[in-house]
């Protein structure tokens, strides 16, 4: 693949980087990344991946844009309120960079559909907002050996970790079980500062770009913890758990399960 004149111009500030170059830019243009959630984390992540020229970006979200989303979901605009988030995201990204193929999935991921969706991608960004989806995405990525870029936010706290299945700790190695419903509040109940979503979603994008470019130093086996109140970043070690039910020595989870049940949620919330 030969870069066009306008591509050389568009990506010039990253092509001159020692870790990128023309070859790296071609890798980016050939890469395929799936983003789960076009929200607080997915917005900045998708914007940076599309602007860097990641060739194919899939976005999964079943929600429509609401006014209270715009405080942090910076991919959407006033005119998008009421539209499906994936359509709004697609227009914004394509408007910025026509090199990028955007694939919208206006659905909720589930045990039934996720494996079929992620098989077309090299890596998955988890920007979801609930524990059943987080464990579903983790297990699906481990079982299909897809790189996973995890991020979580609440109030003034953020977390990010990169998961290389079989090689570094997965989300279940980090947190073996989800909290019972109601114990850890969600952003709707507890609030979130928009910029915290921006920090963590941007870290996820940075990890994706490094992964595609083959740059070492990924957050593998390391949880990055961001505290917005004192502007501190810390890293803690996350070893692979030999007893992990999905990636340990004797895995008991060999196919996807019912994650609503695993997270003890009553099926009362239809979206």
């Amino acid at each position: 693949m030969e870069l066009r004149e306008d591509q050389i111009e568009r990506y010039s500030r990253q092509i001159i980087l020692p870790h990128v170059g023309g070859k790296g830019q071609e890798k980016l243009l050939n890469a395929r990344v799936l983003i789960i959630g076009a929200g607080g984390l997915g917005s900045p992540c998708a914007l940076y991946l599309a602007s860097a020229g990641v060739g194919k970006i899939g976005i999964v979200d079943s929600d429509r844009v609401e006014l209270n989303n715009l405080q942090r979901q910076i991919i959407h605009s006033m005119k998008d309120v009421g539209r499906p988030k994936v359509e709004s995201a697609k227009d914004r990204l394509f408007g910025m960079n026509e090199d990028v193929e955007i694939v919208p999935y206006n659905i909720r991921v589930s045990s039934k559909n996720i494996l079929d969706i992620i098989k077309d991608y090299d890596g998955v960004v988890d920007g979801s907002d609930n524990f059943p989806t987080r464990y579903l995405v983790n297990d699906a990525c481990v079982l299909s050996n897809k790189q996973l870029f995890h991020g979580g936010i609440l109030r003034f706290d953020g977390q990010a970790i990169t998961i290389s299945p079989g090689k570094s700790a997965c989300y279940r190695c980090l947190f073996p079980e989800p909290p019972p419903p109601g114990l850890i509040p969600n952003c709707q109940e507890a609030g979130i500062l928009g910029a915290v979503a921006g920090v963590i979603g941007t870290i996820q994008a940075n990890e994706v770009l490094k992964y595609i470019l083959g740059i070492e130093g990924l957050l593998e086996g390391k949880l990055l913890v961001f505290n917005a109140l004192n502007s501190s970043f810390r890293q803690v070690r996350v070893p692979q758990d030999p007893k992990c039910p999905v990636c340990g020595e004797n895995p008991t989870v060999r196919q996807l399960i019912d994650y609503e049940e695993f997270c003890s949620l009553r099926k009362n919330k239809e979206e």
Binding site: G37, S128, D129, G152, L174, I192, A197, V238
Partner: protein, 93 residues
């Protein structure tokens, strides 16, 4: 042993909004007891009925998860930095 404990935002209601508190104990178990003495109610958020650290909350001594050390018996030394890190799910909404 005196240690600094970093408290995550969901638990800061119990620590009078302090993100960092000083507590003492020879090991994690004693440290949690001292936390409970100073901030009543915090222990049941961290531990289950049997006194084990809940599986969606990790406690780190410096950079290491006590689950991979000696769990509640993990010894502490002066100046250790303890972090309590819960699973958080927010993102999309």
């Amino acid at each position: 042993m005196q240690a600094t404990v970093r408290v995550p935002t969901p638990l800061q209601k119990l620590t009078q909004n302090q993100g960092e508190v000083k507590v003492s104990g020879a090991n994690i178990k004693e440290l949690i007891e001292d936390l409970e003495k100073k901030f009543p109610g915090i222990k049941e958020r961290i531990c289950d009925e049997a006194g084990k650290i809940r599986r969606f909350i990790n406690i780190y001594v410096n950079e290491e998860d006590v689950r991979f050390l000696q769990q509640e018996e993990t010894p502490l030394k002066d100046g250790d930095e303890i972090s309590i890190i819960p699973a958080i799910a927010g993102g999309r909404q």
